[in-house]
């Protein structure tokens, strides 16, 4: 048999679109680069500015804390939603409905201004000034966590429901109490389903934290805004912030990729996936 030359089919339409895209992107880039109104030297100057780096720290802190709080709260809400008690599950539904149905930005501003209608908290003889407790940091963290908990609850509920009902039956039949069966049997298996979307939510949270700049919570965007309020290098500092957001989400995405690859996709891998997840959790715990 002789070698047969094969000419692959050409899709001219795709080529036209590709060339158009290159032209448009090139034009936009050229417009930005040649703009006389951007002080390019300001970008490397502010990229590692101490204030900016402090802001990054806070953005990461907001992300990590709000994810941790919302995972715990979301887990509780998910179990409440699955409760046979109508009031308990109704409360969880109401919570999820409310926090998913109102804008996060409104929730942030609300928590920041809570002293307007609850000026102080008195428990017996103990007296708190709301203003001194609900700082911008606390308001921002509260808003991010409570809002995220609603989404997390739905993710966890999906994970819990994905575990075969026979697993719980077997645990019950052996004499596991409901709590033991949840902690030892159901939840560990639900993790496999829960971890990938938690990854997505974490990446999304890195960017969502920028909303807390409306209450000047000192995150990355707040710091960038503070700087450009003084020197008017608005675009330059937004570029600096964007570079850092891109760095953080890219790192987080690669981490997620590694985790998900180790978790594996096939069901036959479930126990391996579980061990891999545990290993990762432990490794992360000891590093951070």
């Amino acid at each position: 048999m002789s070698e047969q030359r094969i000419i692959p089919a050409r899709n001219w339409g795709q080529w036209v679109i590709a060339i158009l895209l290159i032209a448009i992107v090139g034009f936009l880039l050229a417009m930005v680069i040649m703009s006389r109104h951007i002080t390019w030297s300001a970008i490397p100057q502010y990229l590692f500015d101490e204030t900016i780096l402090e802001g990054i720290k806070l953005t990461i802190l907001f992300t990590v804390l709000s994810m941790l709080i919302s995972i715990v709260a979301g887990g509780v809400l998910a179990m409440m939603r699955l409760s046979p008690n109508a009031i308990v599950s109704g409360f969880a539904s109401l919570y999820i409905w409310f926090f998913r149905g109102t804008p996060l930005l409104v929730q942030i501003i609300f928590w920041f201004n809570i002293q307007l209608f609850i000026p102080s908290i008195d428990i017996g003889s103990i007296h708190f000034d709301t203003n001194s407790i609900i700082t911008a940091f606390v308001a921002a963290l509260l808003a991010l966590s409570l809002n995220e908990a609603a989404y997390m609850a739905e993710i966890m509920r999906g994970g819990l429901m994905a575990v075969d009902s026979g697993q719980q039956e077997a645990a019950k039949a052996l004499g596991y109490t409901p709590t033991q069966s949840m902690l030892r049997i159901i939840f560990p298996q639900a993790l496999r389903v829960i971890i990938p979307p938690i990854g997505n939510q974490t990446i999304s949270m890195l960017k969502t934290t920028s909303l807390v700049s409306v209450v000047a919570a000192q995150d990355l965007l707040t710091r960038a805004q503070n700087i450009y309020a003084k020197n008017f290098l608005i675009i330059e500092l937004l570029i600096v912030a964007s570079i850092w957001y891109l760095v953080m989400t890219t790192v987080a995405s690669s981490l997620q990729y590694v985790i998900e690859r180790r978790l594996g996709r096939s069901t036959s891998d479930a126990p391996m996936a579980w061990r891999a997840a545990l290993r990762l959790l432990r490794a992360e715990g000891s590093n951070g």
């Binding site: 019950k172 298996q189 479930a270």
Partner: protein, 262 residues
């Protein structure tokens, strides 16, 4: 409720009194009465949908009865009786009762995220408070009993159905139950794997375990069961010594069912 609380004569392991169960308007159990003596092996036969699984699940209160009562080793299952009223038990109390009743499922239900050793030893450690050494050495003993020595580290997905079911039996036995319930333990198995599971059950029967077995394995029932109960449409149609019911059924419905089985 018309039944008086009846306390067992010491020989009974299970006493079911007028057990009823409805799912909505569908009455699945229509007043089941039966007694299983200690050390007895009883096979429960009947066509699909006749309520066999539902009845078995009432015995460890995986299913809430609509009426009647069940006593296991003299203890009322699922309820506390006070002032003539039945109060359903809390999750913890139910768990305590279920510790003594082993159950083997048609679909094995091994814990998918645990290896074989953990599957067998977790409950004894967690629930019975056994030490790790104690629970592990007992688990290894049981693995020997079910002919799976050396498979401690395997995960369920690495085992055949027959092997999984034998681990499931070992897992139930690790709690030292006084009663074992089997719900069609070989129905999900390839034909060539049925024998190895039945062999383990034969050993258990020979060791004097009290067993209630839902099965379609007539040869096993004839050989191992002390008694066979035939159920149809939520009632006990016929019961008696295994050979009598299987080889010389009295009731027309039993005859029809057994004819179809061959």
């Amino acid at each position: 409720m018309t039944q008086q609380p009846e306390f067992t004569t010491s020989g009974a392991m299970v006493e079911a009194l007028d057990v009823r169960k409805s799912f909505g308007a569908h009455e699945v159990l229509k007043g089941i009465n039966l007694t299983i003596r200690k050390g007895e092996v009883v096979c429960l036969l009947g066509p699909s949908g006749s309520g066999k699984s539902t009845f078995l699940r009432c015995i460890n209160h995986l299913e809430r009865m609509s009426g009647g009562r069940i006593l296991v080793d003299g203890h009322l299952i699922g309820y506390n009786e006070r002032h003539g009223l039945l109060y359903e038990m809390s999750g913890k109390e139910l768990a305590r009762q279920r510790q003594d009743i082993g159950m083997v499922f048609q679909r094995f239900n091994l814990f998918a995220h645990h290896d074989v050793l953990t599957n067998i030893s977790q409950a004894p450690m967690l629930i019975r408070g056994q030490s790790r050494e104690q629970a592990f050495s007992r688990a290894r003993e049981l693995l020997k009993l079910v002919d799976l020595e050396g498979r401690e580290d395997a995960y369920p997905y690495q085992l055949s159905g027959g092997q999984q079911q034998r681990v499931a039996i070992a897992r139930a036995l690790a709690m030292n139950p006084k009663l074992m319930l089997f719900d069609e333990p070989t129905s999900a198995l390839d034909p060539e794997l049925v024998g190895e599971v039945l062999a383990v059950m034969r050993k258990l029967a020979a060791d004097g375990m009290t067993m209630l077995v839902v099965t379609h394995e007539l040869a096993f029932a004839r050989e191992v069961a002390d008694r066979v109960i035939f159920m149809d449409q939520g009632v006990v149609v016929e019961e008696g010594p295994a050979r009598q019911v299987i080889d010389a059924p009295q009731h027309e419905r039993t005859k029809t069912f057994l004819r179809r089985m061959h």
